[in-house]
Amino acid sequence: MVRSLFFLGTAVGLAATPLAAQAPVEFEQYTLSNGLRVILAPDPAASVVTVNVWYNVGSRNERPGRSGFAHLFEHMMFQGSANVDKGEHMQLVERAGGNMNGSTNTDRTNYFETLPPNRLNLGLWLEADRMRSLAITDDNFENQRETVKEERRLRVDNQPYAPAFTEGLTLPYDSTTCFPYSHTVIGSMDDLNAARTADVQEFFDLYYAPSNATLTVVGDFDPVETKALIEQYFGDVPAAEEPSPVECEVAYGDLGGRTVMPDQHANLPAVLIAFLIPEHDHADTPALTLLGTILGQGESSRLNRALVRDAQSALQALAFVDSRRGPGQFIAGAIANQGVGYDTLETQLWAEIGTVVAEGVTEAELEKAKNSYRADQIYGRQTTMGMAETLQHFAHFHDTIEDINSELGRYMAVTLDDVRRVAGAYLVPGNAHTVIAQPAEAGAAGEEGADR
């Protein structure tokens, strides 16, 4: 049977949390005079090379009335520049035997190409050309606005549980104190409709300057030649002023809300409980991440054993940490089996969470979560793309990129007391917002669906 991927498929913007394996990661970093940060990690054994650019902008940088801009902009970046025609970016990369893409989440926007080593120059040049001279025209903009609206219809409006996972997970944030996370990455149709070409130009000038970007190259390449190429292609792109910092104030423990979202496309109710947790680069993140694994990752996790196997109330149950550069979320959730109402799921989720808060976890569970974490770090480094994203993660989510070689140690040092303490500090009803996806058609399930 194909395991349902609805949950994972719609969970947008999960920050990767990759880190130190056994051998230390070797890399070199420097900054061009225009502020472009460069990270190089040569690996002569690789069959390919990855060029990966992160711009320090995500939906958290958007202003009210302009939601969806960061993501709309990601589409504009494939619409041509001074020396690259519309659509030619993809063509040039494909014809060189490479692949490429870009993605936007709350905290960053990334662009990347993986290429045969002899085409590294193409990847660098393509990134440089659009950084220095993006083609911002009315036609391009209108066309991509329509594409983005279609993407919204495909990914949000037409998919079961997507509203709960997008709109729903903005609800723990108060729009008056944290607009950055109180709106979705994809944005509202109204804001997309209201966007004007001049807004796009302004956004580009502010956020797509070299001084707001980090270029990472990983794989089979010669560092000396590559540095010269980078200087030649990127060295004279002008810097810009620094964008204003992102403000997000949250009050831990001041939540307790509950929202029922009718879901026209869902046939089974689902429950998501979202707890506010601190920013990624916080001392509690390792313990929270391991707790997420223990509670809701894998068949032997607590939620899977309790809800899916023992009570047989859930089709799927999981927990994970949605770690962000600002306050993030710890999410526990489940999709009901047929004939089970959301109240039942909610009660059972709280019972499992309550047990962890009251009693902590076992030594064996913690050991298992640490092994799993360690293995995932190694698996994540099997490709040049995985390694490039790992380096970028540390460059943006941590104070120093050097953390890449000490992070595993922080996870291995987590104690049973740490896990119990973070559970008690964050996984409490007053620090949660519960989101319920309720099938909009009557009779599918959820007869017990009275609000409390």
Partner: protein
């Protein structure tokens, strides 16, 4: 195209950059070196095909090893010749359920012990049944490789398929079937495979009946019969030597033996002229389109490679015609692709797109046109070069990890193409001529005898599709529908007259807690006729709307709607008359673009249809109770169509608004452009106390 160049801004980060930019304007020391053409490819680095080590096992299985000690990781994949293809009639899904149960208990381990063992070392163990092959996978760090062999062997040779685990898998299978009915992609794929393969196992899918029929004996017998090593393939990638691999394999799989029987099936249905299967999914925001046909492509005469080039040009990526035209030129879709999946009993061709509803027919016509173009128009040299550039040039990307190499090699061997297929693929593709691509396209694309599936709102797309080809309509359960079934049925709505009284309600409109406007609703009763007047004023947004609707209560029937609206300097008027089975009139209303557009309205009037303007009067008069749910057909003047809305009572809540605190029904209204929550006081006569669009920071609250 009019590219704009970045204007230098304050170089706050580095003064040097300002200097460089100023110099750049006159001397251009750096920008002179910046190339205005894509830099040329450097010399290709010779990349020999990685060594594939082989061994025959005494039980008849074959072992392939891609040895790589870069990272301490080992992946195992054991592929057996059995799958969905071997599901007995009436037991569809048996292979898949067997694969689920395989890791759920052995003679010496419970399901939980298996999961604890593998997850405890950060590894994975899973089984899956595809169309033709049943595969067991495991990935572990190399310290734990023996555990992976031991667990794989335990589940394959000593699985007990416990009864209670079967019940759990069955419950989940039934839930997944429910989920699939809400997944347009799954609905499209099911209808498409059914159309291609009919009663051949490839065309059959698990149903509620077959999921309920499968017994533990079925599972045990199927596994005993089909999970056999003769002809199976054990592919290993990563940090292991051949000596270690064969030693583990003989230790853990030495006692396994036997061969699986091979069932032959009657050929799939003969090809028929192209027909469109329309899967009616009311309210669908998009249409999922699949066009395709069964397609075999012999490898000996080179058709296989020429067909790959043809598919690459048509829809094999973002550089292909379908993507460039449907997405980049027209903006109709987020993606459009084609593919040529392989099957042991004959593969197929498919082209897919998910498009917005109004362009469904245009997109289908364009897809068919592009398919025919491959058969009739010679492919230009530049296009040939581009396609080959990817198919040949992406070789380094396809062998980046030992797992990728193992996967390519295993697939080539399982489908009878041999390891040499992977070694020589680039050369073979390079040798394909444009004329061979056209010939291959004629052989593998069959637009005149294609299976076309559209999953979408039948009411919106039927008429336009029926012009393209004959249309057969089914519902999401697969049951046939008639054209009349697409129109929403009039629902017998019973209103409680006690809830409808003459009164005047004042509301405030708040955004993020701040009042931004007002709304006044007045109801006047005159005999059996009810007149509803509403004035909405949001001064800061330049919006003023006044409407007057007249209707009778028993029987419920709209009579007229008159509305004027001013919004940011634009003005619109709507005048509708509901009589003699039709809605007629004119409507100038704001469209999603923000512009006002005038429309002539002349639409069928169904019994029980109400205008969207009177929802706030109708909803409180329904038989509201916890758990109750209603379908309300509403007329939307801006669209000129009738839309069935779902009105469901989600519970009772205390709601505080300026008019006081009310015990109120929480009523969720879905199915329209914007889901809305309406709170209706419980006390008779009921009143609307609050209206809030889902996910928007706006609400309308009762003041007095």
């Amino acid at each position: 195209m009019r590219p704009t160049t970045r204007t230098p801004m304050c170089a706050g980060l580095a003064a040097a950059a300002v200097v460089a930019a100023v110099l750049g304007a006159t001397v251009q020391p750096l920008s002179a070196q910046y190339p205005s053409d894509p830099p040329p490819a450097g010399p290709v680095k010779a990349l020999p095909f990685p060594d594939v080590q082989e061994a025959e096992l005494s039980n008849g299985a074959r072992l392939l090893l891609i040895e790589d000690h870069d990272l301490p990781v080992v992946s195992l994949r054991l592929s057996m010749r059995a799958g969905q293809r071997d599901d007995p009639l009436g037991r569809e899904g048996l292979a898949a359920m067997t694969s689920e149960l395989l890791t759920k208990g052995t003679a010496s381990r419970t399901a939980e012990e298996i999961a604890e063992a593998i997850e405890g070392v950060g590894g994975s163990l899973s089984a899956g049944a595809g169309a033709d092959f049943f595969q067991v996978f495991s990935t572990v760090l190399s310290d734990d490789v023996e555990l992976a062999f031991e667990l794989m062997s335990d589940v394959l040779l000593r699985s007990t398929y416990p009864e209670d685990e079967l019940e759990l898998v069955r419950t989940q299978a039934l839930s997944v079937l429910q989920l699939q009915k809400s997944d347009p992609g799954a609905l499209a794929s099911q209808a498409f495979m059914r159309g291609l393969y009919g009663d051949h196992p490839y065309g059959r899918r698990q149903t509620e009946e077959s999921a309920k029929a499968i017994t533990r004996d079925d599972v045990q017998n199927w596994a005993d019969t089909h999970l056999r090593p003769q002809g199976a393939l054990l592919t290993i990638a990563g940090d292991l030597t051949l000596e270690q691999a064969t030693s583990f394999a003989s230790r853990y799989f030495g006692e396994w033996g036997g061969a699986a029987p091979r069932v032959e099936y009657a050929p799939p249905p003969a090809e028929e002229p192209t027909e469109i299967v329309l899967v009616h999914r009311p309210g669908s925001a998009q249409s999922n389109i699949i066009v395709g046909n069964r397609a075999t492509r012999p490898i000996g005469d080179g058709t296989y490679y020429a067909a790959d080039v043809a598919n690459k040009i048509l829809g094999g990526g973002t550089d292909a015609r379908l993507f460039m035209i449907l997405r980049e030129e027209r903006g109709w879709t987020y993606g459009a692709y084609s593919g040529l999946p392989t099957r042991l009993d004959g593969g197929y061709f498919q082209a897919t797109a998910e498009v917005r509803t109004p362009v469904t027919d245009s997109a289908l016509v364009e897809m068919m046109h592009q398919i025919r173009r491959m058969q009739t128009e010679p492919v230009p040299d530049s296009t040939m070069a581009a396609a080959k550039g990817y198919l040949v040039g992406s070789y380094p990307l396809s062998i980046e990890t030992p797992q990728q190499i193992a996967s390519r090699v295993a697939n080539a061997v399982l489908f009878g193409r041999g390891i040499d297929f992977v070694r020589t693929y680039g050369q073979q593709v390079d040798a394909v001529a444009a004329s061979e691509v056209m010939n291959a396209a004629k052989l593998v694309f069959k637009p005149d005898s294609a299976v076309v599936v559209v999953v979408g709102d039948g009411q919106e797309v039927y008429d336009a599709l029926s012009v393209i080809a004959p249309v057969r309509i089914i519902d999401v359960e697969g049951e046939p529908l008639a054209v009349e079934d697409l129109t929403p049925k009039a629902a017998a709505l019973v209103l409680d007259p006690a809830q409808i009284v003459a009164r005047r309600d004042s509301f405030q409109i708040v955004a993020q807690g701040n009042p931004i406007g007002t709304q006044v609703t007045e109801m006047v009763l005159d005999g059996g006729a009810l007149t509803v007047r509403e004035t909405t004023n949001i001064a800061m947004a330049g919006m003023l709307q006044e409407s007057e609707a007249v209707l009778t209560i028993d029987p419920l029937a709209m009579q007229s709607v008159d509305q004027t609206m001013t919004f940011r300097g634009q003005t619109g008027e709507t005048h509708l008359s509901f009589a003699d089975g039709r809605v007629t009139g004119t409507a100038t209303t704001p469209q999603p673009t923000g512009q006002f557009e005038a429309k002539e309205i002349d639409a069928t009037l169904l019994e029980g249809v109400v205008d969207q303007n009177v929802m706030a009067v109708i909803v409180p008069a329904l038989a509201l109770a916890e758990g109750a749910s209603f379908t309300l057909n509403t007329f939307d003047a801006s669209e000129g169509t009738t839309t069935p809305l779902t009105v469901a009572v989600a519970g009772v809540e205390e709601v505080t608004v300026p008019a006081g605190t009310f015990s109120a029904f929480r009523v969720e209204i879905a199915g329209g452009q914007q889901p809305v929550t309406m709170f209706v006081s419980q006390e008779t006569p009921r009143r609307v106390v609050k209206i809030a669009p889902t996910g928007q920071p706006i609400a309308i609250e009762l003041v007095q």
